[in-house]
Symmetry: C2
Subunit: 153 residues, 2 copies
């Protein structure tokens, strides 16, 4: 096992669930994005996710943004990968469904989504009696995002 030190500024602990995991976990979901600034406006400014790590890899000409909820998180990230030389819009097959994001202030996030001109696939509704509100929207690359109310006062 190679025990050389990791590259400076590249702390893998944040996104590989440390090195002492005992359970199998979903570490992250990676989606390719064309315009990281547009993506960060959508996922960070509007939804309130936090950028907990940015990894720039010269050899593959890629910047990866790891979005989560806080600095202590070790799994459950959304990785947005920006390949510097990608020119064409990404295509979407029939298999990928969505990423689901829970935001505590449903009404404020909804207002921000509308202000951004976001396309709604499903307008806000209550999913089932007693359930949270949810909506389906498209992110800047056309991925479906399920937006769920994660706090009810």
């Amino acid at each position: 096992m190679d025990t050389a030190e990791a590259t400076p500024d590249f702390d893998p602990k944040r996104w590989i669930a440390g090195t002492d995991a005992t359970e199998t976990r979903l570490l992250h979901t990676m989606l390719c994005v064309r315009d990281p600034q547009a993506s960060l406006r959508f996922y960070v400014d509007v939804f309130g996710m936090k950028v907990v790590d940015v990894v720039e890899i010269e050899t593959t000409r890629l910047t990866a943004y790891f979005l989560g909820s806080n600095e202590n998180q070790t799994d459950g990230f959304l990785e947005l990968a920006h390949f510097w030389d990608a020119a064409e819009p990404y295509s979407h097959g029939t298999g990928f469904g969505h990423v689901s994001i829970g935001a505590p202030d449903f009404a404020a996030t909804l207002t921000a989504l509308e202000a951004l001109g976001t396309e709604f696939l499903v307008r806000p509704m209550i999913m089932f009696p007693g359930g949270p509100q949810l909506a389906l929207v498209k992110d800047p690359d056309g991925y479906t995002v399920e937006f769920i109310q994660a706090r009810r006062d």
Copy 2:
């Protein structure tokens, strides 16, 4: 706000991060699968994920399997959605990258993947000096899964 009780046997707490979240989080990633038994062999039997919730929805003719690491988990799920009437294989565009799964016993999981006849896109390698082992494989529906060593003894 509708405050009627939730449907019995349908506890949304597990996958909507409760109702008192203060942070925005990635709740789950949903992928459509054609043969849930093949998917469960891959993600549960081989990788060691746990089925923490199964939701059957008659109206949309859908069974959703929420896979995670333990019963207390409230976010970071992999949702495998089986639409009962889907006949065609799902297609994959260029945008979706992968789901990344960390498994504690890299060698044993690797052996199980090989026994299953799994297609490897990238054979096991060390990602960077001091980093974990990783491999890229295809799941039964053709989705790319990044398999990361999440424990080093």
